[in-house]
């Protein structure tokens, strides 16, 4: 039997009837059409499906929609403000931190949380923070460089 939940996604309030077993990932991709969030493994091993739930990086594949009832969810689609890339997104573009792009949305969300919590992380802190987000293309080098660029800046905006 479906259950009614309400949640805020990227600043927009939604009320939805969901099956109890529906994952947050399915809800985002299938019910809300937010396909920027990717499914790489479905069991919490790769981090491609990372979104922020009440500000905390969360794999949406192992989170039931019903568990985020009343929560605020941010996805990659919400990073752009007024059509402008966030500084982190821009740094990923400028540094070539993207190849196939499949890990990118999750990587951006994990990093967004990191930078909100710690404006100037050191390289090892960056590497540790993204160690649950697998990337098979870049060797992480340019991803780390992109994050370092944002981390160096005194601009508090991410």
């Amino acid at each position: 039997m479906k259950k009614l939940i309400s949640l805020n996604v990227n600043g927009i309030a939604h009320e939805l009837a969901v099956e109890p077993r529906r994952t947050l990932l399915e809800l985002l991709r299938e019910d809300l059409g937010l396909t920027g969030t990717k499914k790489g493994c479905g069991i919490g091993d790769c981090g491609a499906c990372t979104v922020l739930v009440d500000g905390v990086a969360t794999f949406s594949c192992l989170t039931l929609a019903i568990q985020v009832n009343g929560c605020s969810v941010e996805t990659v689609e919400g990073l752009t403000k007024d059509g402008k890339l966030s500084r982190l997104q821009q740094a990923f573009v400028d540094h070539g931190a993207i190849q196939c792009g499949y890990c990118t949305p999750g990587m951006l969300m994990t990093t967004t949380e990191l930078l909100r919590r710690n404006q100037h992380p050191k390289e090892q802190e960056i590497r540790k923070a993204i160690s649950g987000n697998l990337c098979r293309c870049t060797g992480y080098q340019k991803i780390v460089e992109a994050i370092q660029e944002v981390a160096r800046s005194e601009n508090e905006e991410i």
Partner: protein
């Protein structure tokens, strides 16, 4: 080297913004009304005869729209190499590995489809399994296929030069072994397919593929549909690295289900299915005997290899040839013998993966060079420098290297990593937990011949100027799977036409657009890049001819630069053109007012003069290679080469290895996009490091994969990876556009051996089995303590 306005720069990839905003559409992101969901029934057994398949319960389940087995699919054999078509869409007589596909279902949703799959009943007669590739050839082993005697699906026997002579000349001869494990490419996007048939019987398939053209051919052949009625579209692809170059049952079954139901059908692999389908790196068993003269000159190589390729041939024929042929370089080696066997076993089929066939052979050979250097008392980099080939030379197996920055690459990593200083210390600190190692590599820049026998062009590119003027659209069948080929095509076109990158639209990865053999063998920059350049030049010529006609000047006095028409012979009077353009655009605000003729005006006027301006470029390599059997595999219009230094630290108690630094240099001929070249190198370093230290598919006694997930199939995380230094070497390849050649695969070649050599330096022990896990290292160190006499003397 020429100065370019955009080539050789670091412009962001053309799809970067779409990928950081979540707009980029991958196959599974595509929605269609009324789409059905497909699911596959996989074999639970590694080897069994199929006695009966009963789909009646599944068909009766409400919501099920079609159930297909070999009865519907037919049994037309297909595969990768035409000489070894050994697969059918579904198993009909036997299943040959755990995961082999027996049936597929289309239903209104995934739950229904999976439930239907679980209702299909199959009666099996279990057969004995063959799991050990080394023993698969033995007499009396169970046979997988009637067509493969002794389970050998291909064998190669080559002898170039005279190894007996080489032996006579040798001062040191040594034999070594290296075994690897089957790998998974572990791309982040699981395969996904959508298929649909229109009212004219045209089949369209969207798929996460590397090779739309080959897939189009396979679909047409296996499903018996005319080629021109099959269209394959590649949306954004989340990595491929080889396995997505071969056609999968997911693709064939989804098309079949779409045909049967008349509805669009989507089928997306679960991560476990990615492992089951595999088509990734083979398991290699290499033995090499190498001889060198007293002065360090290589005298001969005698090489044996067994490839465990799993249940079907897939790319394996090419793999077994590559495993031998690519040792022809980068060193001068006059005498080389090779005996290779590619066997079948009851495991998922292996295929191509980054550095196709050559990676483990390279690893062993480079380890051997290290051991030989030690025996000779020579610095391993100096030994290599003594033997490296130079541009203009031909290998003993008739591979011609037209450009070759091997020496530069080796010197670059030597100097950048402070090799001499660190290595001089390591003589004293050998075995104390810190180590440094070096290695080289050699790889093709595009296969010299297509997979099917043909004199087909390997690619065509069609560049059309917008009829309304201002921009151009480049159409190509090339497959950007994340490596960035769309960006390369856009940059080349922008350079040729003097346009900003934003005015070049690239549409690609669609079999309707053109023939392009796809993203494999590191071919796209050289081949499609050349075709793209020629298409752009064709367009440029036509525009300039049209303008020259209107302005009554010789076309050769005109050029396109910075969005303008430049005159090489004084000022142009283009007032007539400007006047006409302004008249056409009355009411528009953004109108040209520059003191020069803009591309926007020129391209529009060219259309008014001549109609649509379309430029075409094509590429087909010249005949390459020798005339011996299998001489085509390994040929290429150009060869990339690379060198690397790795530094490691080892916990001598637990065997834990930390890679502290990797410095790599790769000769890519000319870097179209410097950031992307570095990205390919760094990605290669990561994949190679994973393969060296942690990646392995593990099977149980029944042939089931124990670790078909990304938790236990371990690829390096950001914490495992060190800082990666990528040095670009540019040797200006005469056969490549602007001097460019490959980087995508060659860069992985030195990774494994440089790490193995560094670990030896750190521990004093050599390992003959990959991956080099802490446990294997501890075992080897214990062994060495027991019999110190067998170890090399530091």
């Amino acid at each position: 080297m020429k100065k370019y306005s955009i080539l050789n720069s670091r412009v962001p990839r053309v799809d970067a913004v779409d990928k950081v905003t979540g707009k980029a559409l991958y196959t599974d992101d595509i929605k269609m009304p009324g789409i059905l969901i497909g699911a596959i029934l996989h074999s639970p057994l590694a080897h069994a005869r199929i006695l009966n398949i009963d789909t009646s319960l599944a068909e009766r389940l409400p919501g099920v729209k079609a159930v297909v087995t070999h009865r519907e699919a037919g049994t037309t054999p297909y595969g990768v190499s035409p000489a070894r078509y050994d697969e059918t869409i579904f198993c009909h007589d036997k299943v040959r590995y755990v995961g082999d596909e027996i049936a597929a279902v289309a239903a209104i949703d995934l739950d229904t489809a999976l439930e239907a799959v679980s209702l299909i009943k199959v009666d099996f007669e279990e057969l004995p399994v063959v799991l050990d590739g080394r023993r698969a050839m033995e007499e009396g082993r169970p046979l997988l296929h009637d067509i493969y005697k002794n389970n050998i699906c291909a064998e190669v026997h080559w002898h170039f030069g005279d190894i007996e002579q080489g032996k006579k000349e040798s001062y040191i001869v040594r034999t070594d072994h290296l075994t690897s494990k089957m790998q998974d490419a572990a791309f982040l996007e699981p395969q996904s397919v959508i298929a649909e048939v229109d009212s004219h019987g045209n089949l369209t398939m969207w798929s996460s593929t590397q090779a739309p053209h080959y897939i189009q051919r396979t679909l047409a052949m296996a499903l018996n549909i005319p080629l021109h009625k099959v269209r394959v579209i590649k949306p954004a692809v989340g990595g491929g690295f080889g396995p997505k170059a071969s056609c999968s049952t997911a693709e064939l079954a989804t098309c079949l289900l779409a045909i049967k139901t008349g509805k669009p059908v989507k089928l997306t692999f679960d991560r476990e299915q990615v492992f089951l389908h595999s088509r990734a790196r083979h398991q290699f068993f290499h033995t090499m005997t190498t001889g060198v003269k007293k002065d360090g000159t290589l005298a001969f190589l005698d090489h044996q290899c067994i490839l465990d390729g799993g249940a079907y041939a897939s790319f394996g024929i090419a793999t077994i040839y590559y495993a031998g042929s690519l040792l022809g370089g980068p060193y001068r080696l006059k005498n080389m013998k090779y005996d290779g066997y590619r066997v079948v076993t009851n495991k998922p089929a292996c295929g191509a993966q980054r550095g196709h066939g050559a990676v483990i052979a390279r690893a062993l050979f480079e380890v051997q060079l290290d051991r030989i250097a030690e025996e000779l008392g020579t610095d391993p980099i100096e030994l290599r420098l003594k033997n490296v080939m130079e541009a203009g030379e031909t290998t003993c197996n008739e591979l011609f290297v037209s450009s070759f920055g091997m020496r530069e690459a080796l010197e670059a990593v030597r100097d950048s990593a402070a090799w001499k200083k660190k290595r001089s210390l390591s003589g004293k600190t050998r075995g104390q937990g810190r180590g440094i190692g070096a290695a080289c590599g050699f790889f093709v820049s595009g296969a010299g011949y297509p997979i099917y026998r043909s004199r087909t062009y390997h690619c065509t590119v069609v560049t059309k100027v917008d009829d309304v003027g201002g921009g151009v659209t480049v159409s190509s069948g090339a497959a950007d799977i994340g490596q960035g080929s769309d960006t390369v095509l856009a940059m080349i076109t922008a350079e040729e036409l003097g346009l900003p990158l934003d005015d070049v639209k690239v549409i690609s990865g669609d079999s309707n657009l053109s023939v392009d053999l796809g993203a494999y063998s590191s071919r796209t920059t050289l081949m499609t890049g050349a075709a793209c350049r020629d298409a752009a030049r064709d367009v440029k010529r036509q525009i300039l001819e049209a303008i020259a006609g209107v302005l009554c000047v010789p076309p050769e006095t005109l050029d396109l630069k910075d969005g303008k028409v430049e005159s090489l012979s004084g000022e142009l009077d283009f007032s007539k053109i400007r006047e006409e353009y302004l008249r056409e655009h009355k009411g528009f605000i953004d109108l040209p007012n520059e003191l020069c003729l803009t591309f926007r005006e020129a391209s529009r006027i060219a259309f008014l003069e001549r109609g649509s301006i379309v430029g075409v470029g094509m590429y087909r390599p010249p005949p390459l290679g020798g005339s011996f059997k299998g001489a085509t595999v390994g040929t290429s219009p150009a060869f990339g080469c690379s060198a690397q230094v790795a530094e490691v630290s080892v916990d001598l108690g637990t065997g834990e290895i930390t890679v502290e630094n990797i410095t790599g240099a790769h000769d890519c001929g000319f870097a179209i996009n410097r950031t992307q070249v570095e990205g390919q190198m760094q990605g290669s370093m990561m994949m190679g490091m994973g393969e060296a230290l942690m990646e392995q598919i593990i099977y149980d006694k029944k042939g089931r994969i124990v670790n078909a997930n990304l938790a236990e199939y371990k690829i390096p995380t950001a914490m495992d990876m060190p800082h990666l230094e990528a040095i670009i070497v540019e040797s200006n390849e005469p056969h490549g556009p602007y001097g460019a050649k490959e980087v995508g695969e060659g860069a992985i070649m030195p990774v494994i051996p440089s790490i193995l050599n560094a670990v030896y330096d750190a521990t004093g022990v050599r390992i003959e089995e990959l991956p080099l896990t802490p446990e294997r290292l501890v075992a080897a160190m214990e062994e060495a303590k027991k019999k110190p006499s067998l170890q090399e003397n530091p």
